[in-house]
């Protein structure tokens, strides 16, 4: 598979730099591209809440969570929070993302007791789901670095072709 052409720069250095470029390019392009399409893809910027049922809540606080925790009734929640709360109660893992406004985010962040149909549920915020932000140039430059890196990886076979061409042309310095 080798034809004996030998150049450290084109046989090893160029593909090595190429691989580095691809690696850096992926690190730039993937988050960069994700930042561009994220708003279309999903609901970011809204937190995921975790809801513990009445039994776990009672077990956790021994029936006395003291005055330190914010107390909220189900009716105080926004409609988006209510929907998420009810879904989380039914969810086997007990988590659901809020889709819409979260006026009680601070209370959830500290951990709060939500009273629903006379039962007490411990509600916490388990993930902020912050929107991903990246520099606008990150994506195009990342893609460019990947393309350039591919060229670097393809340098050895291209080099051998060029060597053959130069030999045919009968000129080598």
């Amino acid at each position: 598979m080798s034809d004996g052409a030998d150049s450290f720069v084109f046989q090893y250095l160029a593909p090595f730099v190429g691989v580095l470029l691809i690696a850096v390019g992926i690190a730039g392009a993937v988050p960069g591209g994700y930042a561009i399409i994220e708003p279309e893809l999903e609901n970011c910027g809204n937190p995921t809440i975790g809801v513990e049922g009445p039994e776990e809540t009672a077990e956790r606080f021994g029936g006395d969570e003291g005055p330190r925790l914010p107390q909220v009734t189900f009716e105080d929640l926004s409609s988006a929070e209510q929907t998420a709360f009810l879904t989380a109660v039914d969810d086997p893992v007990g988590e659901e993302q809020v889709v819409g406004s979260v006026p009680n985010a601070d209370a959830f962040r500290r951990g709060s007791i939500v009273t629903y149909e006379g039962e007490r549920y411990y509600v916490t915020l388990v993930a902020e789901n912050t929107c991903f932000a990246a520099a606008p140039l990150q994506f195009p430059l990342g893609v460019f670095a990947i393309a350039l890196g591919f060229l670097g990886i393809l340098a050895p076979p291209l080099y051998r072709r060029l060597v053959r061409l130069e030999q045919r042309a009968g000129r080598s310095k």
Partner: protein
């Protein structure tokens, strides 16, 4: 947050499809012939009958070499799956907040990455290598229990599916959700990948409601049965099936290591099985093995690590066996201290069961008990060090051949030294209390599990590639790939050692911003490892069809150093029987590139000087035009993404007294690129470095790009400035290549014509 199931499912599907297409394409392009491997481009017909018989053969084979290949293929597939997990979790760590995956997804990623890599990648691959070469090495016809061997392998695919079912079900659920209401497919939307960490610590693993955990436990149990069965087979084979003249005193080191590894597995895996059953019972039947009121959560840690730490040596010992087998072949010397290496292997086998509690130094176990584990953990460094010093001594004053297997061996010793020494630190209780649960631990064990272990797998794949396929792999690509994976591993995991030393906790999707740069370096290094794995895969697949056929019975020239071991003797015998080859004593001479023609300078040619100059000038102009067109592609892209301001082209027009219009500037630019710069190149090319004309062209282009960069700069800063400079340089490279390659192309045409015209 990104949808993990969709992303990972797509990535794996693309990878599988790419492998399949590559394989089929190469297969169509080249086909080994029965007369020794001339390749033709003949079409292959896919006859259903032939496919059926092939499938039937692979499903029912009991031949140790077939099963070895099945193991290796399975392990590779699992390794790629676990590798995709790794790439995904490293991507999350590019930024301090959890903004690519949710924290739960991140937890699931490192959980499945660990389980897949340890249990379904490393062990199957080593069992595969063992299956293929061990009977050949000890002169056995086959494994002791061929059918049990096949069963041992075929338990693994369902085990892997059970363990990774969460992802498959998530993907299926999301696909079904497109057409069915959520209530009808609640089950598919409930299951998700396990996210409790690969160590499955109680009480979290007992209490987490995800039903996938139960499937995972069943899958792990199944894999444990498969491993135990395989281990029994290896032990029996080595003890009872050795051929003539193979005694305990001259049994090769790889077989010794497989024997000890299998011994460890025989004692460790049944214990894992029972611990898994207890956890299943705790989860589903309300037993209290790991409940605080019962055995306690620490009991799980004891049981788990009583398997888990020997498991580390089950993964590590085969790699050391391969090292001891392969390294001497490429340094032209026999293994130094064979006996001591055997003793150190046995020592590791015994000691590996006496160190499990060093994973639990931060628990509330009795300090005196912990102290004894600390002593044994420090002591276990001794047999490991014996191996390292013996390998170094083997290399000492050797006749080193810088092949891919050797690079991987040397790199493996390096990573193992760093990984091992950091392990000695962690064996010391006060140090461990500081570093427990930090990236320091991650760096330490990855330097071994992404160091010596896969390095030696890959080294073995290169070393035995001719034996398995009868063809050579692409040696240059292999050398490059080897250097790349060594580099990537060092960069990634040394970085993790540093940030762990600074105290960053592992297993956290969110980390303080001051660690971002280090995490980005580690991620880029991780991508480099991933890319090098893909290069290896490409080499293996393509070389199977396109590699140069082996034309000697001693491909590695082992006879010269008296290291022509049994598996190669078997290979020689096979070539003699199959192709009537003569046993060779090769005197390999490597051709190196030597230019055949004498340098003539650019002005050289046929006819008068004036003719030559004018010919060269128009050829250079043509080259310049092509180069400028290529260059424009790069510059237009730069303008489109906003790192180059087209206004700057207007300034060129102003320079020659025309109105400042970018269009006029672009035309002038094209004329300059076609006329001025090529003529300058002709004038200077003899004084610029570069053995070949295109190299000179690249140097020339790089030099003139500096002028362009200054002339067209319009105040870009930050990323835009980096992009601007990169685009300027790369566009100029395109110009240099276009100019010189076109020139040489026209020149070679001309030379050809003068030759056919009877000139020259």
């Amino acid at each position: 947050m990104l949808n993990r199931a969709i992303v990972e499912g797509t990535a794996l599907a693309v990878l599988a499809l790419a492998v399949l297409l590559l394989w089929l394409r190469e297969r169509q392009k080249a086909r080994p012939e029965s007369d020794g491997g001339y390749t033709t481009r003949e079409e292959i017909e896919f006859e259903i009958g032939r496919l059926q018989s092939e499938v039937y053969r692979w499903l029912t084979t009991t031949d140790h070499r077939d099963i070895g290949l099945l193991y290796i293929a399975f392990g590779t597939a699992a390794g790629l799956w676990g590798g995709v997990d790794a790439m995904m979790l490293r991507t999350e760590l590019l930024t301090p907040p959890a903004d690519i995956w949710t924290p739960e997804t991140y937890n699931a990623l490192f959980t499945t990455h660990g389980l897949t890599m340890l249990i379904f990648f490393v062990l199957p691959v080593f069992f595969g290598i063992g299956n293929y070469v061990l009977p050949l090495l000890i002169g056995a016809d086959d494994m002791a229990f061929p059918r049990v061997n096949a069963v041992g392998f075929w338990l693994l695919p369902p085990a892997l599916l059970l363990v990774r079912m969460g992802l498959l079900i998530q993907v299926l659920g999301q696909v079904l959700n497109l057409v069915l209401p959520a209530d009808a497919i609640r089950f598919f939307l409930t299951m998700r990948e396990v996210s409790v960490g690969w160590t499955l610590y109680a009480p979290l693993s007992v209490q987490q409601p995800n039903p996938q955990i139960d499937l995972l436990l069943l899958g792990l149990h199944l894999s444990g049965i498969a491993t135990t069965v395989g281990a029994i087979n290896f032990i029996t084979t080595i003890v009872y099936e050795r051929g003539e003249g193979v005694s305990w005193a001259n049994l090769d080191i790889f077989s010794w290591n497989m024997l000890v590894t299998s011994g460890i597995a025989l004692f460790a895996f049944p214990l894992l099985g029972s611990a898994l059953v207890m956890l299943l019972l705790d989860r589903n039947l309300g037993t209290a093995f790991f409940a605080t009121e019962g055995g306690g959560a620490i009991l799980w840690q004891h049981l788990f690590w009583f398997w888990g730490h020997p498991e580390v040596y089950i993964l590590f010992l085969p790699a050391t066996g391969l090292m001891s087998l392969i390294l001497p072949k490429f340094v032209g010397r026999k293994l130094f201290g064979y006996q001591f290496i055997v003793y150190s292997t046995l020592g590791l086998g015994v000691l590996s069961f006496g160190v499990w509690a060093h994973h639990m130094f931060t628990t509330s176990a009795d300090p005196r008990v912990k102290l004894s584990f600390m002593a044994v953990s420090i002591a276990i460094a001794v047999p490991s060090a014996i191996k390292v010093f013996n390998w170094i001594t083997t290399m000492w004053e050797g006749d080193i051949r810088l092949t891919a297997p050797f690079i991987l061996c040397a790199g493996g010793i390096g990573t193992f030294i760093v990984g091992g020494v950091t392990g000695v630190f962690l064996a010391v209780i006060p140090v461990d209390i500081l570093y427990h649960g930090t990236y320091y631990v991650v760096g330490h064990f990855h330097l071994i599990v992404v160091g010596i272990i896969p390095f030696l797998m890959i080294a073995a794949s290169y070393y035995w590639y001719p034996l398995i396929t009868g063809r050579w792999y692409d040696t240059r690509l292999a050398r490059f790939q080897s250097l790349l994976i060594v580099f990537g591993s060092f960069v990634t995991f040394m970085t993790l050692l540093v940030i762990g030393g600074l105290g960053l906790p592992r297993r956290q999707a969110i980390y303080p911003p001051e660690y971002q740069f280090a995490q980005q370096i580690a991620t880029v290094g991780g991508y480099v490892i991933g890319l090098s794995a893909l290069l290896w895969l490409y080499n293996m697949l393509v070389s199977y069809w396109r590699g140069t056929p082996v034309t000697t019975t001693d491909p590695w020239g082992l006879k010269a150093t008296n290291q022509f071991t049994r598996e190669w003797q078997w290979f020689e015998q096979r070539l003699m029987d199959k192709y009537d080859m003569e046993p060779t004593e090769p005197e390999t001479t490597r051709r190196s590139y030597a230019p055949e023609a004498e340098p003539t300078g650019l002005a050289g040619g046929v006819g008068t000087v004036a003719q030559t100059v004018s010919r060269n000038a128009w050829m250079a102009a043509a080259g310049g035009f092509v180069g400028t067109v290529l260059m424009s592609g790069g510059l237009i892209t730069a303008i489109l993404i906003g790192v180059l301001d087209p206004v700057s082209f207007g300034e060129i027009a102003e320079l020659v007294g025309l109105p400042a219009s970018p269009a006029i500037g672009a035309v002038l630019f094209l004329i300059g690129g076609t006329v001025t710069w090529p003529l300058l190149f002709l004038a200077f090319s003899d004084y610029l470095p570069g053995r070949l004309l295109f190299e000179t062209g690249l140097v020339f282009a790089t030099l003139i790009s500096s002028g362009f960069a200054i002339a067209f700069y319009t105040g870009q800063s930050g990323l835009a400035f980096v992009g601007y400079l990169t685009f300027v340089v790369v566009s100029h490279w395109a110009y240099g290549i276009g100019l010189t390659v076109t020139f040489q192309y026209l020149k070679s045409d001309e030379v050809l014509q003068t030759r056919t015209d009877g000139g020259g």
